[in-house]
Symmetry: C2
Subunit: 336 residues, 2 copies
């Protein structure tokens, strides 16, 4: 039997600020033979996400350890089992896993989640039906306890979690305001159903733009940006507003995070609740209801998957760099 | 019947930064005769609190409107009914009200809460048995859902809410760390039962001091300071830490609040919940249980009331100024 070679992206250097394509290097690994209980998977599609940036720093500020230099980096991927020594995962099965950024993944069957043979296509489990959609849904339902008629502000509304949150918010009966960078993305956000979109890159203060878009104030803020967006949301929050914080991309590329705030005292005066969450671990009990609900929204057209698709393993370094440059809308998928 | 003259402190000028005694002026008001259903009360003790500062600015950032210039300012007080046209509140009854900063208060009986004839002395309802103690208790029990064995950090631990929180925390089985300004106050905090006290005025960074005092990290933070204290607490918070925010005195004297933070991204990575609260309105259902529990702690000696007492209406302007200069420990009471 011929030797299988795995191609995987590793960290060549720790990024200073924004990741650049040259911070990554393609690693070639000889795949060891499968042990009992293991499977080998050919990835068909994988994704990169801003949260990967946290693990690229030497001192992690995150909940997972830093990537080692030269070691393959992880990411979510879907693929097909091409060799199996695990009876539960036969050849041909579609699976989801977190070993991404490579063409071939292998390991114990427990590291792979089997996907349904019929129904949603596997790629959806990397985006709207996966952690992206679940981050939006669990933030609105599980953290913010949203109620129909309330006003929701979504930062990064043309992004992966944001574009899902805008559509889920509308499906749940909320008034939705989204922020995005530039007129084209704002137009996209409105086309997703948002009642208003604000361009954070246009001249003027974010607080004033948000106050104009939400004259009735905010009840819920789904934040994956932090920084000035968070400060502006505090500035127009209604009493008892709930802020579900799934990320703070504004600080991911800072080696020393220093942010200026003007409105944090409104946490007290408006009795605001701000809560960070990791949907996968903190809110896992909501996942079955989420997958049923989300798939029915996708089938009915209430939620339209929004992706930016690249092709080929070689596009990954540029894709990671583009994530932070705002060069993608929706979820960034790499089809292999 | 001779005319009754009320002496009340009003705002002479809106403070710029820290309130100074000359920002206040003594107003003399002729008391109108009582209408049916009204009572007249001679105050015996009143209190001033940092939250009063918020209403001294022209543009309130608070939940109550600004004080008018020359109009009497409000504060909590206890007193004795000296004249009554309300059957439920006879002469001699002890009452609590919010019309303070004056020698005589009068109005509809509904503005006065009758205090028990026996049991706790009235002054306790201005401090440990009143909103001060309730702010500490409801923050720990109602907002932070504290559990025995967890580690609590209390800012302003020699202050009114803080000194109550340290003692309540110990009574609830928590490990307690308090911050205070200067060695004498830190010694006081330890004498209240705190496991550790840190001096925020001593040389060195607050984050480092807090990390040294809480090598096991923080599970709960009861904050009435905000600013650098809040940032440091974020820096050493354990996963799923809960921050109950009852005040942000660090910003009360700023006309334009600008604060720098380094650790806000840990809201996400440590899944921290930060929640502002107004105990009186948000958590009122806890009050009966609180008063029973707190009185039994006071009777048993588990909680020792901590007050700074001034005497005479004339001491009020200096007392307000002293509040922000750290010149008082525990609750600042003015006996008349």
């Amino acid at each position: 039997m011929s030797e299988t070679i795995i191609h995987a992206w590793g960290l060549a250097a720790r990024p200073q600020g924004l990741p650049r394509p040259e911070d990554f290097t393609l690693v070639r690994l000889a795949a060891p033979p499968l042990a009992k209980g293991e499977v080998r998977v050919r990835n068909t599609c994988l994704t990169v996400s801003p949260a990967m940036r946290v693990r690229m720093s030497a001192e992690t500020r995150g909940y997972l350890p830093p990537y080692g230099l030269g070691e393959p980096i992880a990411a979510a991927a879907v693929g097909e089992v091409i060799e199996s020594r695990a009876p539960d995962l036969p050849e041909g099965a579609a699976v989801l896993h977190q070993l991404g950024c490579r063409d071939i993944a292998q390991g114990p069957a427990t590291a792979f989640e089997r996907l349904p043979d019929a129904g949603p296509p596997p790629e959806l489990f990397l985006s709207e039906l996966g952690s992206t959609g679940f981050t939006a849904y669990s933030g609105l339902v599980g953290i913010a306890d949203c109620e129909a008629g309330e006003t929701l502000f979504v930062s990064g509304a043309a992004g992966s979690v944001g574009s899902a949150a805008v559509q889920i918010g509308k499906a749940l009966g909320l008034r939705v305001i989204g922020s995005a960078g530039g007129p084209a993305k704002c137009q996209l956000v409105r086309s997703l159903g948002a009642d208003a979109a604000l361009d954070y890159k246009s001249p003027g203060g974010l607080l004033e733009k948000l106050a104009a878009a939400a004259p009735e104030g905010l009840d819920i803020y789904l934040d994956n940006v932090g920084g000035e967006h968070l400060d502006a949301a505090l500035g127009v929050a209604n009493p008892h507003a709930r802020f579900a914080i799934s990320g703070m991309i504004s600080s991911y590329n800072m080696e020393q995070v220093t942010e200026t705030f003007h409105n944090l005292n409104r946490i007290v005066t408006r009795r605001i609740r701000i809560e960070g969450y990791l949907p996968g671990t903190d809110l896992a009990s909501l996942r079955p209801a989420f997958q049923d609900q989300m798939w029915s929204w996708i089938v009915s057209g209430a939620v339209k998957p929004l992706n930016t698709v690249r092709r080929g393993l070689g596009t990954i370094p540029q894709a990671i760099s583009d994530l932070f440059a705002g060069a993608a809308v929706g979820k960034l998928l790499i089809r292999l």
